[in-house]
Structure formats: structure tokens, C-alpha cells
Subunit: 295 residues, 2 copies
């Protein structure tokens, strides 16, 4: 079994179990819990908690239940953003990960509240554990900045407001740095915070995180062009009028940009290994998410 398969087979079941069971424990309203569970249990790749865990593990730190809970919080935040993003008032998507969107099953009101509840719960999970107050408060602060109006929500607003308004390359970069990049940046950062690495030693990890986030968005845009609905599990060719990398740069240049971005991220990991002595092999393996040979 490869290292990455071993890593995933160890951690994915624990992440999934924690998400479904702990959400039920932390919620008191039956239908609301059902709506929250429906989306956290909808089978995502759990890339964000995996990135966080791979970061902690690269630092040689062990992962107990408290670390797992704190680092899985980012998946609650991500799930809330998907639920709200799919609402009729937003992107109006009826399909998510091959299943009906939350609001299709539970209605717009409960879907709105399920998202709201998951956001609050993310902040609960980073502070309701046995980690030190210093770690908890830094996690909460950095999560708030990543998720908030200078982070993810700013990107969402840019996306919604500029749907029919062509952006420049710089504007598109800012949009994606906020909308997708901020939370992936936070995922890696949360591993560094839990691993108690001082800010001046975080630079190459965060360079990797930012490359990963950018690559993630370009890859998603490219997949929308080259895939079909069955393999992707959600509607494709939705982006014809949207601000995407293929629409702005063309498909070939987007693929080139994707490869260059991944290469820069891998170079950051090489430098971490060489200069800092950490072993980021699982982070390296998580770049396997980008199947660049298939696009």
C-alpha cells in the first residue's frame, strides 16, 4: 500500500465518523441536525482536514482526538460554504457531489440554517478541545480571517457580483485567493498552529498551501470543460459565462499554469525538507489529487 493510501485509509474513516457523530452530539434540533449531517456525510474528499493532518504529521507531531477535532473543523466551514453556494439565491445548483443539494432535500430555510450552524460549529470545534488556549485562540482567529469578509466570503461576493462581468487576470487571482485559497491556506496553517511552529518558520508551508489552493481552482475550472456530468458528479459546462481560467487564458495555457503552480508547490516542499528537516511526503502525495495526465 502506498503511503498516501495508508494515510487516507487511516484518517478518512476517523474524519468521516467524527463529522457525522459529533455534529449530532453538538446539535439539539432534530431536523437541523439531519440537514447538517446530510451535507457533511455527502462524501467529499476531505482535502482540507487531510492537508491539515498531513502538515502536523510532517512536523513529527502525533495526532490525538483533540487535534483531530480541531483540524476537522475546517471541513464544517467548507461544507457550510457549499450549502449556501448552492442556494437558489446564490448559484442555484440542484446537484452536489452526485446527490441533490441540501436545499433540494430540506428546503431553502433549513439549508440556510444548516450552513449557519455549521459555521458556528467550526469555531466550536477549534475551541472545544484539550489543546492550549494559545493554540485555540490562534485557530479561531485565523479561521475567522480565512472565512470572513476579507477571505472566503469576499471571494464569494466577487464571484456572485461579477458573473457577467469579465475580470482581468489579477482580479480573477484575487477572487480565487479569497474564495478557494483562503480556506486551503488556513488548513495548512491550522496544522502549523497545532504543531506549535512559530510564524517565521511557516513561510514555505504557506507557499505550498497557496500554490495548492490556486492549482485546486484552475483544476476545477479545467475539469468543468473537459469532463462529463457522470464522472464529475455535478453539472458540467456551467462556467461558459463565468470568470474561469479557461475562459480567460484558454484551455492549453490553463493546463500549463496548473502544472507550473503544482511544480512551485512541490519546490516549496523540497525546501522544507532540505532547510527545515521536516518530512512533507504526505503533502507531496496529496498533490496526486491533480490528475494532470488525464486532462
Amino acid at each position: 500500500m502506498t503511503k498516501i493510501k495508508q494515510f487516507e485509509s487511516e484518517w478518512l474513516p476517523k474524519i468521516n465518523e467524527l463529522l457525522v457523530h459529533q455534529v449530532a452530539i453538538d446539535g439539539s434540533q432534530e431536523q437541523l441536525v439531519a440537514a447538517m449531517q446530510y451535507s457533511v456525510d455527502a462524501g467529499g474528499k476531505r482535502l482540507r482536514p487531510l492537508l491539515a493532518l498531513a502538515t502536523v504529521i510532517s512536523l513529527g507531531k502525533s495526532v490525538n482526538v483533540d487535534v483531530l477535532k480541531a483540524l476537522t473543523a475546517v471541513e464544517l466551514l467548507h461544507t457550510y460554504s457549499l450549502i449556501h453556494d448552492d442556494l437558489p439565491a446564490m448559484d442555484d445548483d440542484d446537484l452536489r457531489r452526485g446527490k441533490p443539494s441540501n436545499h433540494v432535500i430540506y428546503g431553502d430555510a433549513l439549508a440556510t440554517l444548516a450552513g449557519d450552524g455549521l459555521q458556528a460549529l467550526a469555531f466550536q470545534w477549534v475551541t472545544d478541545n484539550q489543546l492550549t488556549s494559545t493554540i485555540q485562540s490562534e485557530l479561531a482567529l485565523k479561521l475567522a480571517i480565512a472565512a470572513g469578509p476579507a477571505g472566503m466570503v469576499a471571494g464569494q461576493a466577487d464571484d456572485v457580483l461579477n458573473e457577467n462581468n469579465p475580470l482581468t487576470a489579477d482580479q480573477l487571482r484575487v477572487l480565487h485567493e479569497n474564495k478557494t485559497g483562503a480556506l486551503i491556506h488556513y488548513a495548512v496553517e491550522s496544522g502549523l498552529i497545532v504543531g506549535d511552529i512559530k510564524p517565521s518558520d511557516r513561510q514555505q508551508y504557506l507557499r505550498f498551501a497557496d500554490d495548492y489552493g490556486l492549482a485546486f481552482q484552475i483544476y476545477d475550472d479545467v475539469l468543468d470543460v473537459v469532463s462529463n456530468e457522470q464522472t464529475l458528479g455535478k453539472p458540467v459546462h456551467q462556467d461558459a459565462d463565468k470568470n474561469t481560467y479557461p475562459n480567460l487564458f484558454g484551455l492549453a495555457e490553463s493546463k500549463r499554469l496548473l502544472k507550473a503552480t503544482i511544480a512551485d508547490g512541490l519546490a516549496a516542499l523540497d525546501q522544507i525538507q532540505k532547510s527545515q528537516g521536516y518530512d512533507p511526503e504526505i503533502l507531496r502525495a496529496l498533490c496526486g489529487y491533480f490528475k494532470i495526465e488525464e486532462i
Copy 2:
């Protein structure tokens, strides 16, 4: 000038200025900032931060800019809940505090995002200050519990799902403890946390907070029956089919219950003064919000 007028004239301008200016500093997307500012600047009574400040002051602690920011965060949380509550998918209210609701001005998508951003920002404000990590992490945890799926959002879900389904007195109590009570409880609790009062000494303060929260909801329900739109600043007689105290107990019994609840809250304050030696006179004065002689 009475003590309460003096207190309000000292703190309301500071709260209002902080809300409007800091939101602009913490947000990066122009329209999103405008939408958030519109609602935080819509002239609420600021009861929750005032309760928090009155609690700290009763403990003899001073209030600097960091304390003010941490304790004003609850108003961001409250404002987000109002924006989402007014959405067409939820209560579909076009008027709030005498002005058009957020979504009427900014559209449903940006209103949803403005609410999402304000929730994240509330967690940022309790952790992005010079208070100790111990205080910051407890504030974030208690705010998450109050706002989350066993708190405010659970109450909202109960409210939305039972609009045409009569509740028992117990069910109605739980609904309001969550929907309105949890955040008022947190407001007072946040003052105790910042004031560094140990949990075993918080009991009477939290009894006061819970009475205040219950009274607040009964009073709101009663006002809907006895007021007109002009004096209330929002549509009235909206609650004919809803689960309210007047609908469940009748108007006279609701007024009696309101008075008894306020009396119990004041008794808690008397006990704080007598047994703990603190001076909760501004909390006492904040009960003047309930104009029971006028209803």
C-alpha cells in the same frame, strides 16, 4: 442625567463607531462591506453589547478598546441573524428597524453573504485583540455554543419548522431560550469572562441574563399585538399564526409572566449586590428597556 443615560451616552457612540469603521477595515470587498455596514448601521438598541459592558463595569473592571471590541462582537452575530431571518427563504420581511431589509437593498445573494461574513467577523473580534488567549478562547467557545446548532440556530429552525404547528408551553420556552435567550445569555457571560470571574461565581448573573432573554421575547410578542407599525418600526400583527406568548397564554397572562420574569431578574441582581458585593446598577437600569407601564 440619570446613570443609564450617562452610560448610554458614553458607550453607544463608541459601539456605533466601532461597528461601522471596523467592519470597513476588516472587509476587502466593496459591495460586501456596504451590505454589512448597512445592517450594522441600521440603528439597533445595541442591547447585547450594552449588557456585556454593564456586566464588566458592575465588576469594577475598566473597559479599554480591546474589551470594547471583544464585547461588541455579539452585535455582529445578532445583526447577521437578523439579515438571514429576513430573507425571502426565511421570514420574508421587507422592513427592519423602519428601513428596508438588507436583501431588499442588496439582493438575496449579497444579503446571505453579508450575514455569513458578519458571523465570521464576530469570531474575529473576540480573538483579534490584546486580551489573554484564555479569555479569547473562552469567548470564542461560548459564542459558538450560543450561536450554533444547540443555540440560536436551533431556535431559528424550531421557529421556521413550527410556524403552523402549535407548540406547548415547554416547547415554546425551549424555542425562545435558543432563538433569543442564548445570545443574551452569552452577552452577560462575555462580560464575566472578560472580567475574569470564575464560573462558580457567575450563577446569579446568568440567572439575570436568562430572565432578561425570556422577558425580551415575551415583550417583543406583546408589542406585536399592542403596537402599530409606525411606533415599532417594523410590520406588526405578523404573529397571528405563530407560536407566541399571547397566542399561547393570552395577552393578560403574558403581561403577568413578563412582570414576574423581570422581577426575578432584579432579585438576582439584588443577590449579586448583597452576597458578592458587586454593583449591578446599570444592569438594573437596562431593565428599563421593558416599558411595562405602556403595554
